[in-house]
Symmetry: D2
């Protein structure tokens, strides 16, 4: 099972003055990859958040290693798999490829948070529902 694949070209707005990727972009790409993976599961963010009455899938950890530089016009493939499913959290692993080269990799851990009562109420992680666990398991590496 190869995981979810998101293809993206490197464009002008991704580059800083030195001609390298402004590195927070990679985390924007990881976030978009997660969003697209859930969309292919039939669970786009707004649908998911309303249906499950959750505040979102807050990120508690994010990390990336940058192995090879990217250049303008490179087309990258972000391959996303589910690395771990815990009771109240899950980890998505992202690998960035240019052709066969692995150029970067990272992961993002998200928690399942019920919508709190007040506008700034304490956010508490809740157990992942069984149907979400099942949907995520299809993307385990």
């Amino acid at each position: 099972m190869p995981g979810h694949v998101l293809e993206l070209p490197v464009r002008w707005s991704h580059l800083d003055k030195a001609g390298t990727i402004y590195f927070p972009k990679y985390f924007e790409w990881f976030d978009l990859a997660a969003e697209e993976m859930f969309r292919t599961m039939g669970l786009d963010w707004p649908t998911l958040f309303v249906r499950e009455n959750i505040l979102g899938l807050p990120i508690v950890e994010a990390t990336a290693r940058f192995i090879l530089p990217l250049f303008y016009n490179d087309v990258i493939r972000i391959v996303t798999t589910v690395g771990e499913i815990r009771t109240r959290a899950f980890r998505l692993d992202h690998q960035v490829y240019r052709g066969a080269e692995l150029t970067a990799k990272g992961y993002v851990v998200r928690i399942w948070v019920q919508d709190p009562k007040g506008p700034q109420g304490k956010m508490a992680a809740a157990p992942l529902p069984a149907h979400i666990v099942r949907a995520l398991e299809a993307y385990k590496a």
Copy 2:
């Protein structure tokens, strides 16, 4: 030695539809904190890159843990220290505080890269010059 401090308010453009910080923003803040720390050392990015004939300070690793959510109007302090100085790389540690609360922390590893000959030449990490090492040591935790 408390490290370099960058103070920032949480504003509308930092929030996503769920009212939480769009997490790549934290990495933008870490990047700005590094830039400001070097500025206080008299080495703003363009000056540094031209004077040292380097292509930049490419990031090879970036990571963050998010401990407490931030809200609109929160004023955060990003405290940056030098966590490690290697021969060809250094690690900046960033801690995000709201008042006395640690709300997030992370680190970014950067390498010293000589400007390559060609436009897409191989980037090779070079040893950090002694005066850069000395300047960084002043920010060691």
Copy 3:
């Protein structure tokens, strides 16, 4: 009455590969200037939107003219005045200065929109409340 002033430095993340400002940044600055002007009126966005039961202040028109290029380390002042108050809309005029030089100018027209019933209900502009008109008049050029 000089209008509301927001001061900002030009930083690395504002620059594209050509070393010029990525022009959508100016509109981010205009948006932040409007947000800060309302904050000084005691009406930060979340407070305003909840108190007045509005969906926001949707933008119906935005324009900018770029007169002089900006460079790294330039400190700019965005001077914001209220250019026009209509029944259901108002126009904010933004002027960008570097020292005494006018480097850019533009305006943004926003409408007053009541929170619609449904999630994708029709948004209809409503008359600006009298106390909002009074607050805006203090910033007329």
Copy 4:
């Protein structure tokens, strides 16, 4: 002649807390549409800038009118045509459609600027080369 078409989906990162598009995003989309139009002409930005020895295509004016709100999952088509070709500048007109609905429109005026000698040299607009004029004329509305 329908102009250049760029298709984009509305995603989570485009939305602000009110669920509306953060309006500077439209200008990012206009900029990307221009970049893609030049790519289809065989002139991607880096190739164009190096081959023609220009600093870029600095923007001197940008404007947009927002007619209908966009929502998550909307797929938009940005139709770009050349509105005017002057001696040293050209105007790109952008229309944003959701299906048959025109949801926004705007234009961006860019100038042709020779690479100045010094790092912060005066930028002076130069006449558009004949082959660039010819390439742009194919996109006139």
